[in-house]
């Protein structure tokens, strides 16, 4: 919820989901409006690397920011920006802003 509040305070419209599977369902419904997906590599039901795969399978333009406390998470062809936990709020906002601006309609 803290991430949601930070992003909303910065002016973004935010959709949240309780796990990876619900996140993909929300993405499918809102696929024309979503520009950036923020995820965690450790999530219930479906881990973040799989969650990163689905939105870009549906819309390759979508940007994915992932975070983890482990070093195993990292940038890949799917995850375009990686945040190592713990990170500062300002780092999250900067990452989302970079990816939001990199989105090509």
């Amino acid at each position: 919820m803290a991430i949601r509040h930070s992003l909303e305070a910065a002016g973004y419209r935010v959709l949240t989901a309780k796990d990876g599977k619900d996140a993909i369902d929300a993405f499918v419904e809102h696929k024309d409006e979503i520009r950036v997906v923020v995820t965690d590599t450790m999530m219930p039901v479906m881990d973040g690397s799989k969650l990163a795969m689905a939105p870009r399978a549906i819309d390759p333009r979508v940007r994915v920011v992932s975070s983890s406390g482990l070093d195993t998470g990292a940038k890949s062809g799917l995850v375009l920006e990686f945040l190592k936990k713990p990170y500062e709020n300002v780092e999250l906002l900067a990452a989302v802003r970079r990816q939001f601006e990199a989105y090509v309609p």
Partner: protein, 233 residues
């Protein structure tokens, strides 16, 4: 984009393809009705290879050669306008065009802040095929496919800016194959399907949840609950 479809009458869909191709095709035992087909589902797909036409289990989520690796890049759809020229699809568009049996597809309309799912079918619920391309297995990856999309017709344009390429009868026969199509033929086959031959209706939000499966996916939407009658007498 086309990211959910239904194949709940597998026999009827395969019979229609079989009749169009003049080739006997039977629904395999593993291909039961699926009312809510999602990305990564393994589905029956009709493909031709070395002259033999067969129903094969393929996974939805095309993985082009350059997208293989520990985190494969899946692709749900390919745009008909660029499928023959983009490196990711070029080879498959030339030599691995397949038919994806279907009875309908879903799309969501925005009403206020709510997303309401609609089912699109052919009039009379005639079965059809979605135009697809497929990729052979590689390493741990099985055969995979994606669905072509095109400009929407007037019916689909009410809710979305793309629609899947729909094929019936002779168009199925012209699409499937392992030899390149002439650009004009590709354009003709991937044109938006005639809206007058299609139907649509709202369905329950039950199908929006990818965990849900079964006939309830096609059920009409739940009516809003009536306002309670208050008695202050």
């Amino acid at each position: 984009m086309c990211v959910r479809y239904t194949l709940h009458k597998t026999d009827a869909a395969l019979n229609a393809i079989s009749a169009a191709l003049g080739a006997p095709l039977e629904a395999p035992d593993w291909a039961g009705p699926k009312f809510n087909v999602t990305l990564t589902s393994t589905m029956p797909v009709v493909a031709r290879q070395a002259g033999a036409t067969a129903v094969r289990p393929m996974r939805w989520g095309f993985v082009p050669f350059g997208g293989r690796g520990p985190h494969p890049k899946l692709i749900a759809n390919a745009r008909a306008e660029t499928v023959a020229s983009l490196p990711a699809f070029k080879k498959a568009a030339a030599s691995r065009r397949c038919l994806v049996p279907a009875n309908g597809f879903y799309e969501w309309a925005t009403e206020g802040s709510t997303k309401l799912p609609y089912l699109f079918t052919l009039a009379g619920e005639e079965p059809f095929a979605l135009a697809g391309i497929w990729d052979p297995p590689a390493g741990d990856l099985p055969e995979t496919y994606c669905v072509l999309t095109t400009e929407p017709n007037d019916l689909v344009a009410r809710v979305h800016n793309r629609m899947p390429v729909i094929l019936t009868d002779g168009a199925m026969r012209r699409w499937i194959g392992d030899a390149p199509l002439a650009p004009e033929e590709l354009k003709l086959l991937t044109a938006p399907f005639d809206a007058a031959r299609m139907a649509t209706r709202r369905v329950s939000r039950y199908m929006s949840n990818s965990r849900n499966e079964g006939p309830q996916c096609l059920a009409p939407p739940d009516e809003p609950r009536p306002e309670p009658e208050l008695d202050f007498g």
